[in-house]
């Protein structure tokens, strides 16, 4: 059986700064197809990502790192309602599940658009952190891209963080 660790022997695909528009396209497509909303790209945003909900999907193989999606609890709940219809998202676990899946699909959609990544980079199942007071550190230097998006004026951040 293939494991994420066994993908490590693949030829590494280095981070490319030209991936920003690819990640933008991947993220916008996912929100549009699964939640039926067209998000705006907030090019003027200078804020650091914040919000009580952070979804993370690990990437291993030709590209190692993670994709994250961060937003407020209220925004996560709205996405869950949009994805499920009606008031289906009153349960907090449903909102967490929804942003975990959105993050998973963004990561998958992104790697499907990058040559040599689709077959050589595996994704973990999503993890969702609730709470704002945390910091993240990795054992290796990282390089990546962060997109600031807006939905009805509310900020959402999508980040690709790769081990350099």
């Amino acid at each position: 059986m293939k494991t994420m660790a066994s993908q490590g022997s693949q030829t590494a695909v280095p981070f490319d700064s030209n991936w920003r528009p690819i990640m933008e396209c991947a993220a916008l497509e996912v929100f549009e197809m699964m939640a039926g909303v067209r998000l705006e790209i907030d090019t003027a945003c200078t804020e650091e990502p914040h919000g009580e909900q952070t979804a993370m999907v690990g990437m291993a193989g030709a590209l190692c790192g993670m994709t994250t999606l961060r937003c407020s609890r209220a925004t996560a709940t709205r996405f869950a309602s949009l994805m499920l219809g009606g008031d289906a998202a009153s349960n907090p676990s449903t909102a967490r599940d929804a942003i975990g899946e959105l993050c998973n699909m963004i990561a998958g959609n992104f790697k499907a658009k990058v040559t040599n990544l689709a077959d050589h980079c595996m994704l973990s199942v999503p993890t969702v952190i609730t709470g704002e007071d945390y910091s993240m550190s990795t054992g290796e230097p990282t390089v990546g891209v962060t997109l600031a998006l807006k939905f009805d004026g509310e900020p959402i951040w999508v980040s690709l963080i790769t081990h350099s």
């Binding site: 699964m34 998958g108 595996m122 199942v125």
Partner: protein, 128 residues
């Protein structure tokens, strides 16, 4: 129109609901929708009665979709039941592996109801 009994296997309850809604939007008349959150639970559901179709995620904890497929092949109750694999991965290799293990089709997330219909309709023998 024949009423259908389907099994949806995905670790996300949100995705299970979205898949069910997409099947209904595609025009399927569902009499019963069984749900499982991983392959092991899916195998237990398969043994509870005849199914018309199974839709399964690939990347799941406990037992992933490819292991589920391989185990399904050993079950008498799953013989002839079409399986569609649903993947976020976009990996041709995993799709080929799934098709080789007996899947009849695949669907890549994110998807539209129309894409679900395109994949499902040919496997239901003119039900749609």
């Amino acid at each position: 129109m024949k009423k259908l009994r389907v099994l949806i296997v995905d670790d996300s309850s949100v995705m299970r609901k979205i898949i069910e809604r997409s099947l209904r939007q595609a025009g399927l008349d569902l009499s019963e929708v069984l749900e499982a959150s991983n392959g092991a639970e899916g195998l237990a559901e398969v043994q509870k009665g005849p199914l018309d179709m199974i839709l399964s995620d690939i990347n799941m904890p406990v037992m992933d979709g490819l292991e589920f497929l391989k185990n399904l092949a050993t079950l008498e109750s799953a013989k002839g039941v079409p399986v569609i694999m649903i993947t976020t991965e976009g990996s041709e290799a995993r799709v080929v592996e799934a098709l080789s293990a007996g899947a009849k089709g695949y669907l890549r997330k994110p998807f539209t109801a129309e894409q679900v219909k395109e994949r499902v309709a040919p496997l239901l023998g003119g039900v749609l």
